[in-house]
């Protein structure tokens, strides 16, 4: 099952600039490589990843086959209030994934 992990510092105060690290479990098959039996593995990559903090979209990535398997992204956000951090992604097969985590601001 596809899953994601997000990480940020334990204690976040209002107005801090927080580094968010995000890892999504996904094979990111390019469609150029073959498996051990010599068959070409069909392309299956993540098309979009969106991150919402509350209702605000804070980050969006549109990867291509140029991103490694199990894509990892790192970005910054300015902490304001405690909100729900939501990651959503869609891949070529139409599979979608979601990850929710509370972004606590003290």
């Amino acid at each position: 099952m596809m899953s994601a992990r997000v990480q940020w510092p334990e204690k976040v105060r209002a107005d801090d600039i927080v580094k968010v690290r995000m890892l999504i479990q996904h094979p990111m098959d390019t469609g150029y490589l073959q498996d051990l039996t010599g068959k070409v593995v069909p392309r299956n990559i993540i098309r979009t990843v969106t991150c919402h903090l509350g209702k605000q979209e804070v980050f969006r990535v549109e990867p291509s086959s140029g991103i490694s398997a199990n894509p990892f992204f790192e970005f910054y956000i300015r902490a304001t209030v405690t909100a729900e951090f939501k990651i959503e992604w869609t891949d070529d097969k139409g599979m979608t994934g979601q990850h929710l985590q509370i972004f606590n601001v003290t």
Partner: protein
């Protein structure tokens, strides 16, 4: 030398020749997979589909990556753009472009003033030694870029087969 032994010699000789050429012929298939020989795009070719004639400067963007990447399928890459990230002046998009990959645009990041810092990092696949370009679109419609050469010893476009 009688006719029989001459024929024997001749067939042995051709067998040897076939033995030397066959693997080479079969090897062509594997060679085609290696994309190192593929053409290298110029900066204009890489950038223009996105920039579409807007102003572009080589400044304010910094790429941090290993100069020598052993494994092309996992190269850590960090892009830092000097920008105040205020509501009037911020970075809207960051593009990662590759000179040699079959797909030029490796990733597109969408940012905004809520990010406070225009830094992103990720891990990319590279099909051989090449120049990598990080292109940032600013909120006033201008573009900034920087490029860096990354030496890749093992391309991401070769597999176990």
């Amino acid at each position: 030398m009688n006719v029989d032994s001459w024929l024997r010699r001749k067939s042995l000789k051709s067998l040897l020749l076939a033995g030397m050429t066959l693997p080479w012929l079969m090897g062509r298939d594997a060679l085609a997979q290696r994309m190192n020989s593929g053409l290298l795009l110029t900066l204009e070719d890489m950038v223009q589909p996105i920039v579409k004639g807007a102003k572009i400067f080589k400044k304010d963007v910094q790429i941090e990556a290993p100069i020598l990447a052993d494994n092309g399928s996992l190269v850590p890459l960090e892009v830092q753009v000097q920008s105040p990230m205020s509501t009037e002046n911020y970075v809207t998009h960051i593009y990662l472009l590759s000179q040699r990959n079959p797909v030029t645009q490796m990733a597109m990041f969408q940012l905004g003033p809520w990010n406070a810092r225009a830094n992103v990092s990720t891990r990319v696949r590279l099909a051989g030694t090449q120049e990598v370009v990080a292109l940032a679109r600013l909120s006033n419609g201008e573009f900034c870029y920087n490029q860096m050469e990354i030496i890749v010893t093992e391309s991401a476009c070769v597999d176990a087969s």
